[in-house]
Amino acid sequence: MLGRTIFIDPGRCIGCQACVSACRECDSHRGKSMIHLDYPDEGRTVASLPTVCMHCEDPVAPCAEVCPAEAILITADGVVQEADPTRCIGCANCVNACPFGVPKIDLEAKLQMKCNLCYDRTSYGLAPMCATVCPTGALFYGTVEELQAERPGVDVSTMFAFGDTVVSTGVAMVVSGERRAPVPGGTLNLIEVNGRPTPGNGARA
């Protein structure tokens, strides 16, 4: 059962970057934004995708599992913290192992940084910075009941498929009501985007 968490609805994202700016204000990584805003079909559609740490639950935090320095800790409430600066050796294992492409690394400072669900705020019951400023509700913070009260008929998923592997997460994504399969984490051999074939798969030159 999901507690209070972030619900991501890329369908509502207008790519305004407000979350990116607000993330910079977070006290634990002031001046550096941990949120990623990507344009998956750039040049053809205005579709944009905000990415925060998904706080993987099963397998629990692959980033922490591949960390050779025991630097990534998980709090009792399931929040995967950014690397402990005392321990992080800057090897980038977490950056490359995360299937969602979340952690960032400062190679000079030998330090990984990632979204910690604004732990300074959420541990006191406040919403994370990104969800606080999102003007369209693409990033919603609350319980699934609160989300569904605001958006009747909406459903969410915490299951993501990477090939044959399913990763279940603490942060959820909005899906259409009839969806039963895990959300695809990506198709490595991409043959079509938004109904159009990709180059090399029948796309018109």
């Binding site: 059962m1 890329p10 994202c13 006290d27 634990s28 002031r30 990623h36 990507d38 998956p40 559609t45 995708l49 099963d58 397998p59 692959p62 591949v66 050779p68 320095a69 025991e70 321990r87 050796i89 090897c91 980038a92 294992n93 950056v95 490359n96 192992a97 995360c98 969602f100 492409g101 979340v102 960032k104 000079e108 030998k110 300074d120 699934v144 569904q148 459903d155 969410v156 998923s157 915490t158 299951m159 993501f160 990477f162 090939g163 044959d164 592997t165 990763v167 259409s176 039963r180 895990p182 959300v183 695809p184 984490g185 990506g186 198709t187 490595l188 991409l190 079509e192 985007v193 938004n194």
Partner: protein, 374 residues
């Protein structure tokens, strides 16, 4: 489970050990690691005791007033070695440990770049350049603590083991001799600057440590990045321990110089208790980073030498989608092997850069979940 999203069909292949059988295997593996660690740690402890006995010339030079310190170092050795063995037995650390030592002990690497390892040790472990990239003030404060503690350890450990002795050179004069394992190192005049510096080395170390630890303590109370998620046992206790040791140590000198030894015995017990507790605590909390940090050198050397493997070798692995370099080929292969050890079934994704992973997920969502993001 969220909303009405269904459970996955069967166990996810990357779900890690979950069934009773798997849990049993993990539990027995943990038990055997713990047993091995205890054995190696006990051997290390015994080795230190033997070294103390031999180094103090069969306890002839051993100062029995310092017994609690010596006993604490034996416990320290046991604790550090035990935790170290447990740490390097985990899949990710084990692979890096092997690769790092392979790179460090390789004759080929030494011939090709003899300066690489000493230079990395100096920059990462000695001068900690990476800390400067995090914050100049933190770098300066950490350097004070680091060199202060190193100086203090270099003086006190051999003293408590009875390895260092100071003997009078003659019956009448101010001459002293410093000896290691009974062998004379050098002689000096106790009234000279060298004599003064030798007898006040620990005071100097204490001043350095108080400066550095004081800054960090201030930061723990005022800096909002530091206060987020800080814990008393992990973040405050080490600083308080260092400050207690340094202040009680300085007070010993103060008592000797200005109070004619007043309160010396009480202060000595207080100082000893703070040192012993800190040494015994070292393997458990924040201080263990002292033991872990050299892994940064191993990691860096492994990546550095992997980049220089022959002229035709592919140096860097590029993202399979956008072609941006991800990491050295050896590092990515090492990570993929680690992920397979951990049964994380998506190791193929490690060959895509973080941005492409997000874009791939976004396009899949766009195509399969909410077509056109509607």
């Amino acid at each position: 489970m969220a909303g009405t999203a269904p459970p996955p069909q069967g166990r996810p292949t990357g779900g890690g050990p979950t069934g009773d059988g798997a849990a049993g295997v993990v539990a027995s593996a943990t038990r055997s690691t713990a047993a091995r660690a205890s054995l190696i740690a006990a051997a290390a402890g015994v080795l230190l005791v033997v070294a103390i006995v031999l180094g103090s010339r069969l306890l002839r030079d051993f100062d029995s007033a310092l017994v609690p310190y010596a006993v604490a170092t034996v416990f320290l050795t046991f604790g550090v070695v035990h935790r170290y063995v447990v740490w390097v037995s985990a899949p990710a650390a084990r692979r890096l440990f092997t690769q790092g030592w392979k790179a460090a002990l390789s004759w080929e690497n030494l011939k090709r770049s003899p300066a690489a390892l000493p230079k990395m040790i100096a920059t990462y472990l000695g001068f900690q350049k990476f800390l400067g990239a995090r914050s100049h003030a933190r770098w300066a404060a950490h350097q004070l603590i680091f060199w202060g503690c190193l100086l203090a350890a270099a003086i006190t450990f051999p003293l408590t083991w009875g390895w260092f002795t100071f003997t009078s050179a003659g019956a009448a004069g101010p001459g002293y001799e410093m000896r290691l394992w009974g062998f004379k190192l050098f002689g000096f005049d106790s009234g000279s600057f060298l004599g003064w510096a030798l007898y006040h080395g620990l005071d100097l170390a204490a001043v350095m440590v108080i400066g550095g630890a004081g800054y960090f303590l201030w930061r723990r109370m005022r800096d909002r990045a530091a206060t987020t998620g800080q814990r008393f046992g992990y973040d405050f206790l080490p600083l308080l321990a260092l400050i207690t040791i340094s202040v009680t140590g300085l007070l010993l000198t103060f008592s000797e110089m200005f109070l004619h030894g007043g309160g010396y015995e009480f202060l000595a017990v207080l100082h000893m208790a703070s040192v012993v507790l800190t040494l015994v605590y070292l393997p458990f909390g924040k201080f263990f980073h002292i033991v872990q940090r050299p892994a940064a050198v191993g990691m860096q050397l492994f990546k550095y030498t992997a980049r220089r493997q022959g002229p035709d070798a592919e140096e860097l692995r590029s993202c399979r989608r956008c072609g941006q370099p991800i990491d050295t080929v050896a590092a990515v292969d090492n990570l993929r092997a680690t992920m397979r050890d951990l049964r994380l079934g998506f190791d193929e994704w490690a060959e895509y850069c973080p941005r492409c992973k997000r874009v791939l997920r976004g396009t899949a969502y766009l195509s399969n979940v909410k077509r056109g993001f509607k």
